[in-house]
C-alpha cells in the first residue's frame, strides 16, 4: 500500500514458520491459538451436555416433593457434579478458553498468544481434570456441593480428594492462561493499537486475565489445604484441633467471587462487539465500558465475604463487604446504560446473535438487581442458602455468561469456520432458551423467599405448608427441557452448517474489528503482514482505520449477501 507501512512491517516481525504437518501436531498437540480455541470449545460443549444432563436429573427429582426419582445420595452427587462441571469444565473453558483464545489475538492483530506452548499446556490440563473428576464415579463421588465446605466434605474422603485434585489442575490452567493473555494484550498489540483503540472484547478479556492470574492462586491454596485435610488428616478446618471451618470459606470465596467476573466479563465484551455491529452505531461510552471492566475486576476482589454473612463472621466485617458489593452495581449499571444508549438511534438487524445480546441485556440486568438484594446483610440473612440464591446465580450464569457465549458463537462462527449458521434454527433456539431460562429460574426467586432451602433432595415438609411449591417446581422441570432443546438445536445447527452452511466470506456482518479483514477461517499465522491501526473499530461512517492489511478490503464494510436474506427485509439493496 504505502512505502512507510512496508518499512514498519519489516520492523515488526517478518519471518513466518511453515504450518505444522501431520494430524497430531496440527489438531491434537497444536500450539495454534485457533486450534486450541476449538479444542476448548469441543471439551466445553461435551461437558455442557454432561452438566446439563445432571441438571435435568436434578429437576426430575424435584418434580415430585417426595423426591423418589434418585436416591438422596445420588441426588447429592448430581447437584455437586452439576455445579462443579458447570463452573470449571463448561463456563471457564468456553468463555476464556474458547472465546478468549480465538478472538483476542485476532482482534489485536497478533499471530498467536505470547506463550503458545503454555497455552497448549493450559488446555491439556482440562481433559486431565475431567478424567480425574469423573474417575470419582468408580470410587465415591463428591457430595457436598460445588463449594465443598468442610467438615461435611471430609466425610466423602475419596470423592473430595479427587475433586480437589481435578480443580487444582484447572486452577493451574487458569493461572497460566491469565498470565498468557495478560502478556499477549500488553505486548502483542499491532502497532498503533493504543489502549483506547483496543476492541472492547479484548478489554474484557484483559480484565478477565488479570482476575484469573491473581485470584486463582487462592483457589489452588484452598483446595490444597482441603486435600491435605481429607487425605492426611491435617487439622486446618477441625475446631477440636485448633482449626477453623470458616477459614476454608474465606479462601474459597476469595477466588470464587472473582470467578463470577471471570464468567461474566467476557460476555460483557461480546455484547460490546455484537451491539455496534448490528445497530450500525459506534459503541456508546467506549471508555466507560472499557474502564468499568477494570473497575469491576478490581472491586471484585473485595466482596468475597458477602457469600458468608450468616457463616459466623464478625458483624463489623459484614459492613465493608456489603458496601463494596453495592458499589460494583455502579460500573455494572454504567455498562448496561451504555448498551441501551447504543441501541437508541441504531438501525437494528435482528440476527440470532443480536437476539441473544438483547436477551442478555434483560436477563443479566435481572440477575444483577437480585445481586443487590443478596448484598444487603439483613435481607441476605433471610435469602442465604435458599432457592433465591440459586435463581440469582443462574440468571447471572445462564442468563449472563451462557447467553453472552451463545451471542458470541452465533457471531464468530462464520469467522471461525467460513460457514454461516442457519438463522432460522438459531432464532428458534433463542426463543426456546429464553422460555426455558425464565420458566426454570424465575420461580426459584419466590420459592426461595417463601422459605425453600437449596440442596434438598425432597421438599415434602415445605410443600405441606406451601402447596404452590409443587406447581412451580413442575414448571421449572418442564422449562429445563426447553433449555436442553435449545442446546440440542444449536448442536444440530453447528453440525449442519459446517456441512451445508452458506459460505461466509471475510466479513458477512460488515464488522470493523481486525479479525474481519482476514480470510474465514483465518489462515495459519492470521496476519501475513502485521496491520497498523489508526483508530477505534466502531465508526461506521469513517473508512476502516487500518493500513498494511493482507487483503484489499472495503473501507466501509456492510453486511454482505452471505448474511442475507434473514437480516434484510424485502427490497433491501
Amino acid at each position: 500500500m504505502h512505502a512507510a507501512t512496508t518499512v514498519h512491517a519489516d520492523h515488526v516481525h517478518d519471518h513466518i514458520h511453515p504450518a505444522p504437518e501431520g494430524f497430531i501436531r496440527k489438531y491434537v498437540f497444536s500450539t495454534d491459538h485457533k486450534v486450541i480455541a476449538f479444542q476448548y470449545f469441543f471439551v466445553g460443549l461435551f461437558f455442557l451436555f454432561i452438566s446439563g444432563s445432571f441438571a435435568l436429573l436434578i429437576r426430575l427429582q424435584l418434580f415430585d416433593p417426595a423426591g423418589k426419582f434418585l436416591s438422596f445420595d445420588t441426588y447429592d452427587s448430581m447437584f455437586t457434579m452439576h455445579g462443579t462441571v458447570g463452573v470449571w469444565l463448561v463456563v471457564i473453558p468456553l468463555v476464556t478458553g474458547a472465546l478468549g483464545n480465538f478472538i483476542m489475538p485476532l482482534q489485536i492483530g497478533a499471530r498467536d498468544v505470547a506463550f503458545p506452548w503454555l497455552n497448549m499446556l493450559s488446555f491439556w490440563l482440562f481433559p486431565v481434570a475431567g478424567l480425574i473428576l469423573f474417575s470419582s464415579f468408580f470410587f465415591m463421588t463428591p457430595h457436598a456441593g460445588w463449594t465443598e465446605y468442610p467438615p461435611i466434605s471430609l466425610s466423602y474422603g475419596v470423592g473430595t480428594a479427587l475433586w480437589c485434585a481435578a480443580i487444582i489442575c484447572i486452577g493451574i490452567s487458569s493461572t497460566l492462561t491469565g498470565l498468557n493473555f495478560t502478556m499477549t494484550v500488553v505486548k502483542l498489540r499491532a502497532p498503533g493499537m493504543t489502549w483506547t483503540r483496543m476492541p472492547l472484547f479484548t478489554w474484557a478479556t484483559f480484565a478477565t486475565a488479570l482476575v484469573n492470574m491473581i485470584a486463582t492462586v487462592a483457589l489452588s491454596a484452598a483446595l490444597l489445604a482441603l486435600f491435605l485435610a481429607v487425605v492426611f488428616n491435617v487439622p486446618f478446618f477441625d475446631p477440636a484441633r485448633g482449626g477453623a471451618p470458616v477459614l476454608y470459606q474465606h479462601m474459597f470465596w476469595f477466588y470464587s467471587h472473582p470467578a463470577v467476573y471471570i464468567f461474566i466479563l467476557p460476555a460483557f465484551g461480546v455484547i460490546s462487539e455484537v451491539l455496534p455491529t448490528f445497530t450500525r452505531r459506534p459503541i456508546f461510552g467506549y471508555k466507560v465500558i472499557a474502564f468499568s471492566s477494570l473497575a469491576i475486576a478490581i472491586l471484585g476482589f473485595a466482596v468475597w465475604a458477602h457469600h458468608m454473612f450468616p457463616s459466623g463472621i464478625s458483624p463489623w466485617l459484614q459492613l465493608p463487604f456489603m458496601i463494596i458489593t453495592y458499589a460494583i452495581g455502579v460500573p455494572t449499571g454504567l455498562k448496561v446504560f451504555s448498551w441501551l444508549a447504543t441501541l437508541w438511534g441504531g438501525r437494528i438487524r435482528f440476527t440470532t446473535s443480536m437476539l441473544y445480546a438483547l436477551g442478555f441485556l434483560i436477563a443479566f440486568t435481572f440477575g444483577g438487581i437480585t445481586g443487590i438484594f443478596l448484598a444487603a446483610v439483613p435481607a441476605d440473612l433471610h435469602e442465604h442458602g435458599s432457592y433465591f440464591v440459586v435463581g440469582h446465580f443462574h440468571y447471572v450464569v445462564a442468563g449472563g455468561a451462557v447467553l453472552g457465549f451463545l451471542a458470541a458463537v452465533t457471531y464468530w462462527f462464520p469467522k471461525a469456520t467460513g460457514r454461516m449458521l442457519n438463522e432460522r434454527l438459531g432464532k428458534l433456539g433463542f426463543w426456546l432458551f429464553m422460555i426455558g431460562l425464565t420458566g426454570t429460574f424465575l420461580p426459584m426467586h419466590w420459592l426461595g423467599l417463601e422459605g425453600m432451602p437449596r440442596r434438598y433432595a425432597s421438599y415434602t415438609y415445605f410443600a405441606a405448608t406451601h402447596p404452590d411449591a409443587v406447581f412451580w417446581n413442575r414448571v421449572e422441570t418442564f422449562s429445563a427441557f426447553f433449555m436442553a432443546a435449545s442446546i440440542a438445536l444449536l448442536t444440530i445447527n453447528v453440525v449442519w452448517s459446517l456441512w451445508r452452511g452458506r459460505v461466509a466470506g471475510r466479513n458477512p456482518w460488515g464488522a470493523r474489528t481486525l479479525e474481519w479483514t482476514i480470510d474465514s477461517p483465518p489462515p495459519y499465522y492470521n496476519f501475513k503482514k502485521i496491520p497498523i491501526v489508526f483508530g477505534r473499530p466502531y465508526d461506521y461512517t469513517e473508512p476502516l482505520p487500518y493500513q498494511n492489511l493482507d487483503h484489499d478490503v472495503d473501507p466501509y464494510p456492510a453486511p454482505t449477501a452471505a448474511s442475507f436474506p434473514l437480516p434484510a427485509p424485502a427490497g433491501a439493496g
Binding site: 447429592d76 466425610s155 459492613l319 456489603m322 454504567l334 437508541w344 439483613p378 417463601e450 466501509y556 427490497g571
Partner: protein
C-alpha cells in the same frame, strides 16, 4: 468498494423517548404501590402481619429494594423492547444504512451515574440502620435458648432450666412478646438454622457459638429448616418453633420439668463396662479423650473422672458419683467449658447410660 454509508438520524433524544419514559414511570408507580400497599405474603411469609420484630425491619428493606430494583428492571427492559421495535431496520433501507454516529452524551451519562449512586447511598444508610438494630439493638433477653445442630436434627435447650428434659427434640417454645436470645452451634458439621417467618438465619458451626436476638410478636407454629448442606438427610432436617402466650409457655415448661424429674432415675445396675467402652468410642471420643482432664478436645479428658484430686467435682458442682454422671449423660449440661448434648441428641438408651457410667467409673 462501497461509499460512505447513509446515516439516518433522529431529532433530539430520538422518537418516543419521553412518551416511553412517562409510560414506564407510570408502570413503576403502579408496581411500587403494589409492593408498598398490598400484602406480599405470597413471596415473603407473614409480611403483612409480622411475627417477629426484626421481620418488619427487614421487610421494609426488601420493599425499598423491590421498588427501586423493579423500577430499574422495568426501565431497562422497557427501553430494550422499545428500541428493538423503534430502531429496527425497515424494509427498503439500504443494506449499509447506519444509525446515529454519537459516541457520548455527557449530560445523560452524568444523570445515569448520579441517580443510581445516590440510590445506593440511600440504600447503604437504610441497610446499616437495619443491620445495627438486628446485630446490636437488643434489650436484655428475658429468655435464652440454645440450638445445637446435629446430623440431622436441631437439639433445643434452655440453659436457665438446667437438667430439664425437653421433648420432642427439635421443638423450640418461645413466649410471645419476650426478647429472646438464641445461641446457635453445631456438634458435628456446619448446618444452618433458618426460620423464614422470623427472617432469621445463622450457620451452626462446630467450635463457634452465634448469637441471635429477636422478639416474637405474634403466636404461631413455624418451621425451622437446615439451609446448609449437612449430609445425606439434609432435606429431612427440620424443627419447629412454637410461639405461644406466656401462660401457655409456662404450662409447657412446668410439664416438661415434671417430666424431667420423673425421668431422672435410670437404673444403673448391670452396667457393662466393655459395652460402654465401645459406645464411648462411637459417641463420646469425638469430644472427650481417655486422658487427664487437661487434654481437651472439645470437652475435658475423662481418664480420672471419679478420682482426680485437682477436679474433685463434676462440671455441675456435684460429686462424681455414678448417679450424678448419669444425670449429665441424660440431660446434658451447658457451662463455661461448652455444651454437652443430652441423651436425645446423643441417642442414648437407659442401657447405654448404664454401660457408659460403668465404663467411666472403671477408668483410673
Amino acid at each position: 468498494m462501497s461509499t460512505k454509508p447513509q446515516m439516518i438520524e433522529p431529532k433530539g433524544m430520538g422518537p418516543g423517548f419521553w412518551p416511553v419514559m412517562i409510560g414506564l414511570t407510570i408502570l413503576n408507580v403502579a408496581i411500587a404501590a403494589v409492593i408498598l400497599y398490598t400484602p406480599l405474603d405470597w413471596i415473603l411469609p407473614e409480611e403483612w402481619n409480622p411475627v417477629a420484630d426484626r421481620a418488619a425491619d427487614i421487610d421494609m428493606l426488601f420493599k425499598f429494594m423491590g421498588v427501586f430494583g423493579s423500577a430499574i428492571m422495568v426501565y431497562v427492559a422497557g427501553f430494550v423492547l422499545y428500541a428493538a421495535v423503534a430502531f429496527r431496520r425497515r424494509a427498503g433501507e439500504p443494506s449499509d444504512s447506519v444509525g446515529v454516529q454519537l459516541h457520548d452524551a455527557p449530560k445523560l451519562e452524568f444523570w445515569w451515574t448520579v441517580i443510581p449512586t445516590a440510590l445506593l447511598i440511600v440504600l447503604v444508610v437504610l441497610t446499616v440502620q437495619v443491620w445495627h438494630r438486628i446485630q446490636f439493638g437488643t434489650v436484655a433477653p428475658a429468655l435464652t435458648t440454645e440450638v445445637v445442630a446435629h446430623q440431622f436434627n436441631f437439639e433445643i435447650r434452655y440453659p436457665d432450666w438446667q437438667g430439664s428434659v425437653f421433648s420432642p427434640p427439635g421443638e423450640m417454645h418461645l413466649p410471645v412478646g419476650k426478647p429472646v436470645r438464641i445461641l446457635v452451634t453445631s456438634a458435628d458439621v456446619i448446618h444452618q438454622f433458618w426460620v423464614p417467618e422470623f427472617r432469621l438465619k445463622a450457620a451452626a458451626v462446630p467450635g463457634l457459638v452465634q448469637n441471635l436476638n429477636l422478639t416474637p410478636i405474634r403466636t404461631g407454629t413455624f418451621d425451622i429448616a437446615c439451609s446448609e448442606y449437612c449430609g445425606v438427610n439434609h432435606s429431612k432436617m427440620q424443627g419447629k418453633v412454637v410461639v405461644e402466650s406466656p401462660e401457655a409457655f409456662e404450662r409447657w415448661l412446668a410439664g416438661e420439668r415434671a417430666h424431667a424429674t420423673t425421668a431422672a432415675s435410670v437404673s444403673l445396675g448391670g452396667g457393662d463396662a466393655a459395652a460402654g467402652k465401645t459406645l464411648f468410642a462411637q459417641k463420646c471420643a469425638v469430644c472427650h479423650a481417655v486422658a487427664p482432664f487437661e487434654q481437651k478436645i472439645v470437652g475435658p479428658g475423662l481418664l480420672h473422672l471419679t478420682d482426680d484430686p485437682k477436679h474433685p467435682k463434676l462440671v455441675d458442682g456435684k460429686p462424681p458419683t455414678a448417679a450424678n454422671i448419669a444425670e449429665i449423660l441424660q440431660n446434658g449440661y451447658t457451662g463455661d467449658i461448652g455444651a454437652m448434648p443430652n441423651r436425645q441428641a446423643n441417642g442414648l438408651s437407659d442401657k447405654d447410660i448404664a454401660n457408659l457410667v460403668a465404663y467411666l467409673a472403671s477408668l483410673k
